[in-house]
C-alpha cells in the first residue's frame, strides 16, 4: 500500500482527527481493569490471571512499536492505521469468542497478543505524518494525538462499565460487551484510515522532487548515536517518576493523611486519581505545545528539574498540607504526560523527519522499562517499610528520594544532548522517497 498523498487544497486540520480516532480507541487499554472483576467471577480467575491480557498487550505495544516502526515508515500511515484497526478490533472479537466458550487463553491471545500489535502500530502510526504536516508546531500536533491515548481510557472506562451493567457480568454478557467493543472501535478507527493523507512532496523549480531539508538520520543510524540513548534515559526517568505516583495514587493520599484531623475517604481518593488523569491529559497537549515556543531541551529541563522539586516538596511537607500534596502530584503527572507527548518533536529536532516514526517506536522501549521500574520501586519499598513497622507518609519517603535521584539523572542526560554528528546523517534524498542509508563521507577531521 503506497502512502495516500493529499489532493490539492487538503487541510492539515483533517490529520489530527484521523490520529485522534486511532489514539482515542487504543487508549482503551488503560481501562482494562473494568473487565477484571467480571472475568474473575465468571471464569474463576485470580487477580494475576485477569491482568494477563493487559500485561501482554503492553509488552506487544512496546515490541511492535520498536520492531514495526520501519515498516510503518515504508508503507505509510494508512497501512499502519489499517493494521491497527484490524488487530485491535480482531483482538476484541477473539476475546468475545473466548468469553462465550469459556476459553480464557483465547482472551489472552486475542486482547493481549493480537490487540497488542494493534496498540503498538496504532500508537506510532500518525506521529511521522503529523510532524510533516505541522513543521511549525510539531509539539502541538503530536501532543493532540498522544493526548488521545490518555483520553481513550476516560471514554472506555465509563462506557465499558455501563455496557457490562446492561449485558450482565456472566460470560455471555462479557462476550457481548467484547463483541460490541470490537465492532464499535472498528467503525470509529475507520475514520482515521479513510482520512489520513501525507503531504504532497514539494518539487523544485525544474519539477524534480525536492530534497529533504536539514538533518536526516535513519532509524538504524539513530540507534548508534549517544543522543538516542540520552533521550532514552530522559524518557525512562520522567515516566518512572510519573508512574511512581500514578501506580499508588489512591493508597498514597490515604496513607499521607491517615493520622491527620482530615483523613481522605475512599471516594475522595478516587476523585484524586481522576484529577491526576486530567493533569496527565492536559500536560500532553499543554506542555507539548509550549515546547514549540520555548524549545524541547528547555521544556525537559522543566519536566525533570521542577519535577524533582515537586517530589522534594511532597517528601518534606506533603503530609502537612493537602492542597500542597495535591498540587505537587498534579504538576508531576502533567510533566509525565508532557514527557510522552514532547518526545516525538524532540526526535524530529535531532534526527529529522525521514524515519522519525520508527525512531520514536524504538524509543518507546524506555516506556516499557519504566512501566516495570516505577511500580517495582514504589511497591517494593512500601512493603519493606510496612514490614519495618512504619506507616503513613513514612512508607513512601525512600521511594521519593529514589525518584528525585532518577529525575536528576534524567536532567543530566538532557543537558548532555547535542546536535547529531554529521557522520550519522543519511545521503540527501527526494522528499517522500527512500533515502539512502549510507553515512555521509566526512573528512578525517570531522
Amino acid at each position: 500500500m503506497s502512502p495516500p498523498v493529499a489532493p490539492p487544497g487538503w487541510s492539515r486540520w483533517l490529520v489530527p482527527p484521523a490520529a485522534l480516532s486511532v489514539h482515542l480507541s487504543i487508549g482503551q487499554a488503560y481501562a482494562w481493569s473494568v473487565f477484571k472483576p467480571p472475568l474473575e467471577s465468571a471464569l474463576g480467575l485470580s487477580g494475576t490471571q485477569s491482568a494477563l491480557p493487559f500485561q501482554l498487550g503492553i509488552v506487544m505495544l512496546g515490541l511492535s512499536a520498536a520492531f514495526g516502526g520501519t515498516l510503518v515508515e515504508r508503507h505509510g500511515p494508512r497501512w499502519a492505521m489499517t493494521v491497527a484497526l484490524v488487530c485491535f478490533s480482531s483482538g476484541f472479537l477473539l476475546s468475545a469468542l473466548g468469553a462465550a466458550t469459556e476459553q480464557y487463553w483465547l482472551i489472552v491471545l486475542g486482547y493481549g497478543f493480537v490487540g497488542g500489535i494493534g496498540l503498538g502500530t496504532g500508537y506510532i502510526s500518525p506521529v511521522s505524518t503529523l510532524i510533516k504536516w505541522f513543521p511549525d508546531r510539531p509539539g502541538m500536533a503530536t501532543g493532540i494525538a498522544i493526548m488521545g491515548f490518555g483520553g481513550g481510557a476516560l471514554i472506555a472506562s465509563p462506557w465499558s462499565a455501563q455496557m457490562l451493567e446492561s449485558f450482565g457480568t456472566d460470560n455471555s454478557g462479557i462476550a457481548l460487551a467484547f463483541l460490541v467493543h470490537g465492532l464499535a472501535y472498528a467503525v470509529f478507527m475507520l475514520l482515521g484510515v479513510l482520512l489520513v493523507r501525507v503531504p504532497r512532496p514539494r518539487t523544485g523549480a525544474d519539477g524534480a522532487p525536492a530534497v529533504l531539508e536539514g538533518v536526516q538520520v535513519s532509524a538504524r543510524g539513530a540507534m548508534r548515536t549517544p543522543q538516542f540513548w540520552l533521550l532514552w534515559v530522559v524518557l525512562c526517568t520522567n515516566v518512572t517518576a510519573g508512574i511512581g505516583i500514578l501506580e499508588k495514587a489512591a493508597p498514597m493520599i490515604t496513607d499521607f493523611f491517615a493520622d491527620t484531623s482530615t483523613p481522605v475517604s475512599a471516594t475522595a481518593a478516587a476523585g484524586f486519581v481522576a484529577l491526576l488523569s486530567a493533569a496527565n491529559m492536559a500536560g500532553r497537549i499543554g506542555w507539548s505545545s509550549a515546547s514549540d515556543l520555548i524549545g524541547r531541551k528547555n521544556i525537559y529541563r522543566v519536566y525533570l528539574g521542577v519535577g524533582a522539586l515537586m517530589y522534594t516538596l511532597i517528601a518534606l511537607f506533603g503530609d502537612s498540607s493537602k492542597p500542597l500534596f495535591v498540587l505537587c502530584a498534579l504538576v508531576v503527572l502533567s510533566f509525565y504526560g508532557g514527557g510522552f507527548a514532547t518526545v516525538p518533536a524532540y526526535l524530529k529536532d535531532l534526527f529529522g523527519t525521514y524515519q522519525v516514526g520508527a525512531i520514536h517506536g524504538r524509543l518507546l522501549t524506555a516506556w516499557s522499562t519504566a512501566g516495570v521500574l516505577g511500580p517495582l520501586i514504589v511497591n517494593w519499598i512500601a512493603d519493606r517499610q510496612e514490614e519495618a513497622g512504619k506507616h503513613g507518609a513514612a512508607l513512601y519517603g525512600t521511594s521519593f528520594v529514589i525518584m528525585i535521584g532518577l529525575l536528576a539523572v534524567g536532567f543530566v542526560a538532557n543537558e548532555l544532548v547535542r546536535p547529531v554528528h554529521p557522520r550519522h546523517h543519511v545521503s540527501a534524498a527526494p522528499a517522500g522517497k527512500e533515502a539512502v542509508d549510507v553515512p555521509r563521507q566526512q573528512p578525517e577531521s570531522a
Binding site: 487538503w10 483533517l14 484521523a18 485522534l20 483520553g151 476516560l154 472506562s157 481522576a274 486530567a278
Partner: protein, 47 residues
C-alpha cells in the same frame, strides 16, 4: 489566446464541512469522557 488557456485552475472543494464533521466525530466521545472525569474528580472535594 485560446479560451482554455485563459481559465484559471478549478478551485479545490471547501473542506470546512468535513473538518467540522471529523472534529465532532472525535470531540463528542472525548467530551463524554471528560464529563465523566469531572464528575469523579469533584469527589475529591465532596467525598
Amino acid at each position: 489566446m485560446s479560451p482554455d488557456s485563459s481559465q484559471s485552475p478549478p478551485e479545490p472543494p471547501s473542506r470546512r464541512p468535513l473538518i467540522a464533521f471529523t472534529w465532532l466525530w472525535v470531540g463528542l466521545p472525548l467530551a463524554y469522557g471528560l464529563y465523566e472525569l469531572v464528575r469523579k474528580a469533584t469527589q475529591l472535594f465532596t467525598g
